[in-house]
């Protein structure tokens, strides 16, 4: 990742956007975001993605995607920055009974639509959770090898190895001043990332099977927590805070079936060793948690509706900042009008115990093929200190122009 390279990155980005686009595939997206309650911040995010798939043989493909992002904002400490990342670059070997991918990958676990408790392989970009409707754009690519063995069409074993840990970020630009950086801390932070050793290699396995038209999966993951837990150590008064990524294990399962017009999907994850911040001190405890969810979805005409109910319990005896029991409801309504040239999306997340709520409404219009204009508003309302509560000042409006070439 190359940081602080604006205006060079921005110039490259504009240059690329100006070249004839019929020679490569990808997209050009420009998004203006306004946060009225957060110091009147305005951001202009522009992304160019260039992608190429090369089929070398029936069994061998190279897939590559490069992403160049520029950010302009009126934040005093970060007026402009840029990123160049390999968003996807892998070799794909695929046979009837065997499939292997090596390189920078984004992989999805889980079946639920909005919040997927078992989907923990890739780190994520929190800001994208609110700005992107595509789940894969929320994930950050990581170096991974993934091998799938198809014993039959209804029984697959998958093995994943992630040699180097990558953390999740509050914003793709990883700006301290990002509106989504909810970890505002009183002292300088020293990152203590897991060392790049053989012992710290992350790995996971998935077992997929189908029973009577119900697709089920079992998962196991051994790795590290994607977001840091914070603590102060050493002499008093403390001079810095350490950001640590505790080792975790996850056992998960999911299922998906359809009954007439309804899709029914469910997930459960049991995470061992996650870090939870103690109340009133900068320290954390390691505890286990279980999160399970069930969702239904249906389509009537051009309308799609899905909702899910999620329950999380943290098995911690100490006083921690997060609520030990949480029930959340998510709902999503999508309406497509005029032969898919106009889209209206409404998304809501409501935490029953804390009363936190996030809602987003988006209107998308496609005046011609491959081009979309989107307008959206996102609101956060909460009195609690949970994740949504920490974003309560981040009400946003955005306009986005997206062209796929």
């Amino acid at each position: 990742m190359i940081k602080r390279i604006f205006p060079v990155a921005y110039s490259i980005l504009l240059l690329i956007s100006a070249i004839p686009l019929d020679c490569l595939g990808g997209s050009l997206v420009t998004q203006g975001i306004y946060y009225p309650n957060n110091s009147d911040i305005f951001e202009l995010r522009t992304t160019v993605i260039a992608e190429e798939t090369i089929d070398l043989a029936r069994w061998l493909t190279i897939d590559a995607e490069c992403k160049l992002t520029g950010l302009l904002s009126n934040r005093e400490d970060a007026p402009g920055t840029g990123n160049i990342i390999i968003d996807k670059a892998y070799i794909h070997i695929h046979f009837s009974y065997f499939d292997a991918r090596f390189g920078y990958l984004k992989e999805t676990w889980g079946k639920l639509d909005q919040i997927s408790p078992v989907d923990i392989l890739n780190p994520i970009d929190i800001a994208s959770v609110f700005f992107e409707s595509e789940k894969t754009k929320v994930k950050l690519p990581i170096l991974m090898s993934m091998v799938s063995i198809y014993f039959s069409d209804s029984f697959t074993l998958e093995l994943s190895v992630i040699p180097f840990f990558e953390k999740s970020v509050y914003d793709e630009m990883d700006e301290e001043s990002s509106p989504f950086n909810v970890a505002s801390l009183p002292l300088p932070v020293e990152e203590q990332l897991p060392a790049k050793t053989i012992g710290n290699i992350e790995f996971g396995t998935g077992l997929y099977f189908t029973l009577n038209k119900t697709d089920c999966s079992l998962y196991y993951f051994h790795g590290f927590q994607d977001f840091p837990s914070y603590l102060v150590e050493g002499s008093l008064p403390p001079t810095k805070i350490f950001a640590q990524y505790p080792p975790i294990q996850m056992i998960g399962l999911d299922f998906e079936t359809v009954i007439d017009r309804w899709g029914i999907r469910g997930e459960c994850s049991f995470i061992i060793g996650e870090g939870y911040q103690r109340k009133e001190t900068i320290d954390y405890v390691e505890a286990n948690s279980i999160t399970s969810g069930i969702g239904i979805d249906t389509r009537y005409g051009d309308s799609y509706f899905d909702t899910s109910l999620l329950y999380r319990k943290i098995f911690a005896e100490e006083n921690i900042e997060e609520k030990k029991d949480e029930i959340s409801i998510t709902a999503n309504v999508e309406k497509r009008i005029a032969y898919d040239t106009v889209e209206v999306d409404l998304i809501g997340i409501y935490n029953i115990f804390s009363g936190s709520i996030h809602g987003k409404a988006r209107l998308g219009v496609s005046p011609f093929d491959n081009f979309w204009i989107s307008l959206a508003i996102g609101v956060f309302d909460s009195e609690s200190g949970d994740f949504i509560g920490r974003l309560r000042n981040n009400e946003f409006y955005y306009i986005k122009f997206a062209y796929s070439f």
Binding site: D99, T108, W262, G263, D302, A338, Y339, D369
Partner: protein
């Protein structure tokens, strides 16, 4: 050498035998529907299709699709992938036909990053913003309808046709009656009218440029017009090949994520 009169007798007897064996004493709607269903589509086929979507103001949009189909023990599996427009490129749809039960349907959305089992109740819904429904794309199931033969001699586009009425067995279907003009010589549906619950004509299907390709009757151009929205979708087959030995693994769920169909 067989004398000429004996040839004639053999021919007459052969035709008589055929008429006894193939054509029932009384032609029924079900018989015509069965003949449509039995019409040879080949063991497999691969095609590239382009669609033009025309709205009520005459504005056009395009879709481009690759489709492969293969028969497994008399039941079809079909995989379809969008190649254009670019914002839906890679969206793929897989159908496994099932006997006596609902077909299984799977959708792969690159944006979602996973294969999703989708409800069969969506069969009447518009497919990817076109005027065709999911059922039009994957093909109706014979046992899902009751059939009546409305007329056994109608002429459409200079072709002698059966006029077949199909009524869905399920009550909550979007169309309660479909009238189909079925060519007598090859049992090809060259026109169909879809009537809604108010018994009003809502959509009209038509097939043209019906040609023999690899000994299989193929409509190179089909269209579906929605009279309610005055929107029309015209679909052209750019390339089609039959009986080319598409590997069976091209129709497995994991094939939805693969970058190419087969080579």
């Amino acid at each position: 050498m067989i004398p000429e009169y004996r040839k004639t007798v053999i021919l007459v007897l052969f035709c008589f035998t055929l008429s006894v064996v193939v054509v029932p004493a009384q032609i029924t709607g079900l018989w015509v529907a069965q003949k449509i269903d039995e019409r040879s589509k080949g063991k497999d086929n691969a095609e590239i299709m382009e669609m033009t979507l025309i709205d009520s103001k005459g504005r056009e949009r395009s879709r481009s699709l690759s489709i492969i189909r293969k028969e497994f023990d008399g039941l079809d599996k079909l995989l379809l992938r969008f190649d254009y427009p670019n914002d839906i490129k890679g969206v793929s749809f897989l159908v496994w036909e099932r006997r006596g039960e609902d077909n299984e349907r799977f959708l792969y959305l690159p944006a979602l990053g996973r294969i999703r089992r989708i409800a069969t109740g969506e069969k009447d819904e518009n497919f990817a913003g076109t005027d065709f429904s999911y059922e039009d794309i994957s093909g109706p199931k014979l046992e899902d309808y009751h059939y009546d033969l409305v007329d056994d001699v109608v002429v459409h586009d200079s072709a002698e046709c059966y006029l077949l009425a199909s009524f869905p067995k399920e009550l909550d279907r979007r169309f309660t009656k479909i009238l189909s003009w079925v060519r007598k010589d090859n049992f090809f549906v060259i026109k169909a009218e879809y009537y809604n619950k108010m018994d009003r004509l809502e959509k009209t299907f038509s097939a043209s440029q019906i040609t023999l390709i690899n000994d299989i009757w193929t409509a190179l151009e089909i269209s579906m017009e929605n009279h309610k929205t005055r929107h029309k979708t015209i679909s052209y087959i750019v390339e089609v090949n039959y009986n080319i030995g598409i590997p069976a693994d091209s129709f497995e769920k994991n094939a939805l994520e693969r970058p190419q169909f087969f080579k």
